[in-house]
């Protein structure tokens, strides 16, 4: 129970049946056997670039019974969002179509046969939806109150004043403190969690029979995510709504769903009661999804990957690759570093690092924002330091400051005995190749106009590595091999690769400079879980072979724990706790913030343990 919820002990009771009838709900509640929502043989096609139609949903069947919670699980591109939008009738016109023969029945009505007018009347009233990005899903120029009131006025014909009064009650119900003031707030004045509560308030305003929640917590921090999940579960129970919960995270499912539907590539792989699907999955893909998340206990040498269950789809790093790496000098260098690692000085020593951003305010005033405050740590060679914390805690600033992409305002960064902040530009240029960074978004960190060959040879060109173009190209091919991509990829452009492959290319680009320290800034967070496992395996593999040191920045505690030797927990620019990875997760006494983070891990003690 979050503090926000507990601040409102007197929640209004759910509306009695009679009241709902007055509010215009049709009186044909489904009988016990007839599901509330029936999706049968749903096929959806989209118009492709050539103007033809391409089917992306290949006959999906599932049902949501009244007051039940169904989780629709799948990775990106699985068709789970398309399914939900088809139910809502919100598929984009002209570029998409529902193929004939598909069946969508809601409360006994054939949705596809309904006139647009009646279909619209259902939306928001009987089927409501909550989206992934609360910020962009709320209209930025209207006050929160107006937006909630709008749905009430539309469907229940309330007057403006009545609607606002109801909206206040709804905000109270979803646990927003001081709802009177929030009514007058604009969306951007609220935090992400609060925005999502507003979205939920809007969705439940007309007491829908079915609530569709499309990745409602993905964009939120873990602690907030936990609160929203609890809120949804509670509301559902109180109002006996049915819920279709869409997520990519199997961990969340165990907390919220009665039934689970697993999708991949527009087909349903498996469905059934949550306990059965999570506990004894029949489908290989489901098993793979469950297995590829890092476990919270124990630390297997290698994470299992989807291919391990379903046969190779993407080439992973084959064992023994190191032995065929052409560039021997590269390995000699790093191997030497590894050999002396234990004895020598720590690679990185950070002392009292601080960073203050100044922005002008008013005519003369300055606004100071402290992003980092007195951060100190030591990173030995060949080891991994994990940095965890929620958004805004300063962990990314820390990474950029280590790279000297920001200049620190206080403290110092000693790399291999040299103070980075006092280094001249030339000195830094030489030092730079020893520290490299991998960014979060593999789609933005590769120059889209460069071929992979150009991306990989550019650092060599800049630093004068390699004798000539041919040599550099040979090295680039070797690097690709090292990260488990075929040499043919050299001629291709980043957009032709999947996210996981792109992240491998980004890693290969760093390796081109033969660095000693890699800063991994949320480097696996944007990847689908199955791909995530591959990249994590690759990182571990590279560390073992090349003796790299990592600063691993992430909000995902499970991954941090799996990869790190030591962990920093950061909050508001400060380190609140530091310790070895195992210590942190051992259930002992911790800083309250760390406790909160740990408590928020989805499915903790549930599905993941079973999987581990």
């Amino acid at each position: 129970m979050s503090s926000i919820e507990s601040a409102n002990p007197t929640l209004p009771p759910a509306q009695p049946e009679g009241a709902a009838g007055v509010s215009g709900r049709p009186d044909h509640r489904p009988s016990g056997t007839d599901p509330l929502l029936q999706v049968a043989d749903l096929r959806v096609s989209f118009r492709d670039e050539a103007g033809g139609w391409r089917e992306t949903l290949h006959g999906v069947n599932f049902a949501v019974a009244a007051a039940r919670s169904v989780a629709l699980v799948g990775e990106s591109g699985s068709g789970k969002s398309v399914s939900s939008l088809a139910v809502m009738g919100l598929l984009p016109a002209r570029v998409s179509r529902i193929e004939p023969g598909s069946v969508l029945r809601f409360a006994g009505q054939d949705l596809l046969a309904l006139p647009a007018q009646q279909r619209r009347a259902l939306r928001g009233a009987q089927i409501a939806m909550v989206f992934q990005e609360p910020m962009s899903s709320l209209n930025p120029v209207f006050r929160v109150g107006e937006q909630i009131a709008e749905v009430l006025r539309l469907h229940q014909g309330l007057s403006a004043a009545q609607a606002l009064e109801r909206a206040r009650g709804l905000l109270d119900e979803v646990g927003l403190p001081d709802p009177g003031r929030r009514l007058r707030a604009y969306p951007h004045q609220l935090s992400g969690g609060q925005q999502q509560r507003v979205m939920i308030a809007m969705a439940i305003a007309c007491e829908p029979q079915l609530l569709i929640a499309d990745e409602p917590t993905t964009a939120l921090d873990v602690t907030i995510q936990r609160q929203i999940l609890e809120l949804l579960a509670e509301l559902r129970a109180r109002r006996s709504m049915a819920m279709l919960f869409i997520t990519h995270d199997l961990g969340v499912v165990s907390d919220i769903a009665d039934d689970v539907v697993v999708m991949r590539h527009g087909v349903i792989r498996e469905q059934g009661p949550a306990a059965q699907v999570l506990g004894a999955p029949k489908d290989a893909y489901t098993r793979a999804l469950l297995a590829c998340r890092p476990p919270l206990v124990g630390r297997p040498a290698r994470l299992l990957q989807v291919e391990d269950f379903m046969g190779a789809v993407e080439p992973g790093p084959a064992p023994g690759v190191a032995s065929v790496i052409a560039d021997a000098s590269c390995n000699a260098h790093t191997a030497a570093a590894t050999a002396t690692a234990a004895a020598a000085t720590p690679l990185l020593v950070v002392e009292g690092l601080g960073k203050v951003f100044s922005t002008r305010q008013g005519l003369f005033g300055q606004h100071h924002f402290t992003a980092l405050q007195d951060v100190s740590f030591t990173l030995p060679r060949g080891k991994t330091l994990g940095v965890v914390g929620e958004s805004g805690c300063g962990k990314t600033t820390l990474g950029l400051t280590l790279m000297r992409l920001h200049l620190p305002t206080s403290g110092r960064v000693m790399f291999d005995g040299a103070d980075l902040s006092t280094l001249s530009d030339q000195g830094w240029q030489a030092m730079r190749r020893r520290i490299q960074i991998v960014f979060q978004n593999p789609y933005a960190s590769l120059n889209p106009r460069f071929t992979v060959a150009e991306i990989l040879t550019e650092p060599m060109l800049v630093h004068g590595i390699g004798m000539d173009a041919a040599d550099r190209r040979r090295r680039a091919a070797a690097l690709l091999d090292q990260v488990g991509l075929p040499g043919a990829a050299l001629l291709r452009y980043p957009h032709e690769f999947s996210g996981g492959q792109r992240q491998r290319i980004a890693i290969a680009r760093c390796l081109a400079l033969e660095p000693e320290l890699l800063i991994l800034d949320e480097s696996v967070s944007a990847l689908d879980v199955s791909v995530q496992a591959q990249v994590i395996n690759l990182l571990r593999d590279l560390q073992a072979r090349l003796g790299l040191s990592y600063v691993f920045i992430s909000h995902d505690l499970a991954v941090v724990r799996y990869l790190s030797d030591r962990v920093l927990v950061m909050q508001s620019g400060q380190v609140v706790e530091e310790g070895s990875a195992d210590q942190l997760f051992d259930g002992g006494q911790h800083h309250p913030y760390t406790e909160r983070l740990l408590a928020a891990i989805p499915g903790r003690g549930g599905a993941t343990q079973r999987a581990g």
Partner: protein
């Protein structure tokens, strides 16, 4: 975005797709854009029209066509052939025709003034006596002197003035202008000037705007402040006055001047866009990554960012071409048009207000239609280009 075509724009975070490297040849973003363009029927048709114009310009520029646009082919304001036979002699003007009756060779009273060229003139008049005889019955000068340039002179006089008038056509395909020049040739030759002016001016404006915008957006700080000040100054001065002022500075008249006037006043829009693009891209992770591997400022500005904003530059460039072709007309009206030995659509349209009221609509029609066709096609092509290059659709 085939895998998830729900098209909620999230350019930074497109939904991953899994096109595992296939046997198909690698395609850069440019190839994709070209392919997309080729699939756009409207864009393709526009491109064809623009290409046809460019071909036309090549033929005129190389002198294959319309080299003699300045020649007098027909009578003044000869109508288009299609409507000829509908004689409009009622406004043929008679009163001023007196000049044609004057015989330039008739002897005149010198009133006692000594003509320093008397001898030469006498010789010239004498030589041309056979031709002049018809109208000048009393040649006063001695004849029989053998003149060394007699042949040339005779050739020059071989075509009597009246004959020239008779030879001139009474109608032309698209009619004639006031000097009897062919409107068809003018409009074709004018296309060359107008399009070249548009292209060159757009190149100048885009170059300036891109360079300054890149500097301001990338460097920030005092460079940005200074350039923004310059931008502020240029945009605060009314466009019309800026045109006058720059025209005054350039003094010389000619096509180059027009190009410079348009270019020097037109860079601000490009600057603003490119600056914004650079500001955006500077913070992008791929630029940060380039910085992390130690790429220099210049390299980041021009090797990394520029290709990624080049679609903006290209679209701006073609938009400017459209704008400048139209602006040339207004410059002509303001007196900064092309010189008289050059023809452009602007100079043609500028002649038309007076012609229209005389009922001579064909020059207006020809220039306006040609311009409308080209500019429309160019604008549609620009739209197609923008769609094809739109990074959001990648």
């Amino acid at each position: 975005m085939n895998a998830n075509p729900l098209a909620n724009p999230a350019p930074q975070h497109p939904v991953p797709q899994h096109p595992a490297p296939q046997a198909a040849p690698a395609r850069g973003l440019w190839q994709i854009a070209v392919r997309r363009l080729l699939r756009n029927r409207v864009g393709l048709a526009s491109a064809a029209v623009v290409a046809a114009f460019l071909l036309l310009i090549l033929t005129t520029a190389s002198g294959l066509l319309a080299r003699d646009w300045d020649q007098q082919y027909a009578v003044s304001f000869a109508p288009p052939t299609a409507i000829a036979g509908n004689p409009q002699d009622d406004d043929a003007v008679g009163q001023g025709g007196t000049g044609s009756q004057i015989d330039p060779r008739a002897p005149v009273d010198l009133y006692g003034v000594v003509d320093p060229l008397a001898d030469v003139m006498a010789r010239i008049h004498g030589l041309s006596a056979p031709q002049a005889a018809a109208v000048a019955p009393e040649p006063t000068s001695v004849s029989g002197v053998v003149d060394p340039i007699g042949d040339a002179l005779a050739r020059a006089k071989a075509v009597p003035k009246s004959a020239v008038t008779q030879q001139r056509a009474v109608s032309l395909t698209l009619g004639a202008d006031k000097w009897g020049r062919s409107v068809a040739l003018k409009v074709v030759k004018g296309a060359e000037t107008s399009v070249l002016v548009g292209l060159a001016a757009a190149a100048v404006a885009t170059l300036i705007g891109t360079l300054l915008g890149a500097l301001a957006g990338y460097c920030g700080g005092w460079v940005d402040a200074t350039l923004d000040w310059l931008y502020g100054v240029f945009t605060a001065i009314p466009y019309l006055l800026l045109v006058f002022a720059i025209a005054a500075v350039l003094q010389q008249k000619g096509v180059t001047t027009i190009v410079l006037i348009l270019g020097l006043t037109g860079w601000t829009g490009v600057y603003r866009l490119i600056r914004a693009e650079y500001l955006k891209h500077k913070a992008r992770e791929y630029v940060q990554a380039a910085r992390a591997i130690g790429a220099s400022h210049l390299r980041r500005m021009f090797v990394h960012i520029l290709p990624n904003v080049s679609h903006v530059v290209l679209v701006q460039l073609s938009q400017q071409v459209v704008g400048f072709i139209k602006a040339e007309v207004i410059l002509s009206f303001l007196g900064f048009g092309v010189p008289v030995d050059v023809v452009s659509w602007g100079s043609m349209l500028n002649e038309t207000p007076n012609e229209l009221i005389l009922g001579k609509w064909w020059q207006l029609a020809a220039a306006a239609v040609m311009m409308a066709v080209l500019v429309t096609a160019f604008a549609m092509l620009t739209d197609a280009l923008r769609d094809a290059l739109d990074p959001r659709l990648k």
